[in-house]
Symmetry: C2
Subunit: 263 residues, 2 copies
């Protein structure tokens, strides 16, 4: 493992606050591994022996049921995953698959749990990480239940723009079919949703999306800090769900939804 990799791991919110000793113990038993694209790192239902730290590449977390599959989250470096299962020393609820060539640090779960017991500051960092992940999932749920697919796409685009601070252009970092699943729709409907956003200044060119009328788009999307996390990547904000958990599912106008009565 290159020293620069160690630095990157140590700069993770998870370890930034930990005692040097804690960090040393945790990474001592760790090993760095490279995986080709399309590799399944972990299957849902499997026991989890390692905490994964994505140092380079892209990983997708997905779930399956009854011959159906859906993407729940897309991770980019540097971020950890499967922490909840490690803390509880239990089976994974999501499968993990590389979307491209990846460099991943694997830290034995035992080491993590031991470090939590010995270093309360590290334990707090774990709690903060999990709290952020939980809130990310809550946002995802709200996004899914309260918005229809076009609204989800519009907000996704605005969020991408905000987090990457890219002027009027957003670059899609994964296949559209993966994005569609993450946003809770079929690839066909993602195409149609893009088309539906054309009147709002959105034009697509391969993986480059141009947002020509931010005002109009925002008017449709109605972004909400309680759903969309517009924090810039790598900012000094308390890391809260740095993964793309953008929500998913159909949710037309939003089923379980009840029109608020302004009584």
């Amino acid at each position: 493992m290159r020293p620069s990799d160690l630095d990157r791991v140590q700069s993770l919110p998870l370890f930034a606050d930990a005692a040097p000793e804690t960090f040393r113990v945790a990474t001592a038993g760790a090993h760095l591994q490279r995986f080709p694209s399309g590799t399944t790192l972990l299957m849902e239902g499997d026991p989890v022996d390692f905490l994964y730290v994505l140092l380079d590449g892209q990983v997708e977390l997905h779930g399956t049921w009854n011959d159906r599959e859906t993407v729940l989250s897309i991770l980019r470096p540097v971020s950890t995953f499967i922490l909840a299962a490690v803390v509880l020393d239990t089976d994974a609820l999501m499968s993990a698959r590389t979307l491209e060539r990846c460099e991943i640090l694997m830290i034995p779960g035992d080491a993590i749990r031991t470090a939590m017991r010995l270093d309360s500051r590290f334990g707090m960092a774990v709690s903060r990480d999990l709290a952020g992940a939980f809130r990310g999932m809550v946002r995802c749920n709200k996004n899914m239940k309260l918005r229809n697919s076009t609204e989800r796409l519009a907000n996704y685009l605005l969020t991408q723009r905000a987090t990457h601070n890219s002027g009027g252009t957003v670059r899609l970092h994964h296949e559209k079919r993966v994005l569609a699943s993450l946003l809770g729709m079929t690839p066909e409907n993602l195409s149609r949703s893009f088309a539906a956003l054309q009147p709002y200044g959105v034009t697509v060119n391969g993986s480059v999306v141009t947002l020509g009328n931010l005002t109009a788009l925002a008017q449709l999307a109605k972004p909400d800090p309680l759903i969309d996390n517009h924090a810039p990547r790598g900012g000094d904000i308390v890391a809260e769900a740095d993964a793309e958990v953008w929500s998913t599912a159909q949710g037309r106008a939003a089923p379980s939804i009840v029109r608020l009565q302004h009584s």
Copy 2:
């Protein structure tokens, strides 16, 4: 606060492992409060000053956006809520409202965060609680994205039966409109879903649901331990999301879903 209440709080997984001193400090600044039905305890976006411990009654967590509202979770005693926001000392993502008369212990957030720093075993309990909550939300997401509304209802019924160990009968503990929102559909569609389950031996009589043909129902529902948490309430299983986060939202056959290709 009655001594019996203290016992119940201490028996929570969150405190069971904590040092007596930790427990004393945390509960010293706490106060027990009673709320009538329909009281809003907390609005999304509000700063969170207390960790809430529901000792009696029923609380609903919901989210709103653009004049729409959806129930994200229903809590029953004894459970804590808003822990993630307390840990991060940030705003709430969900509003909390009592569904009936409630008895709630409110512990200052400062006390919780201090206790985490001083008692690593308590910190670990917090981590386990959050990990369980996170996994509950993941289950909810999978439920929403991978199943249609009737499948969600069927699995909800089977889960209720399992957790309450009630023979062939399930008692609905909340209004059907609330259940509908939790399951991600409209009240009208909940009615229709119940009707659709009639061929599978399901009959409804007010708040009492009879499951007349568990085999057939399970064949339709295809319950999955990686989505449905069939752990009996109050069991000695590591508490993992004891809330009804049953999922929600429409999700017909499941949008973002891709038929698995058995290549």
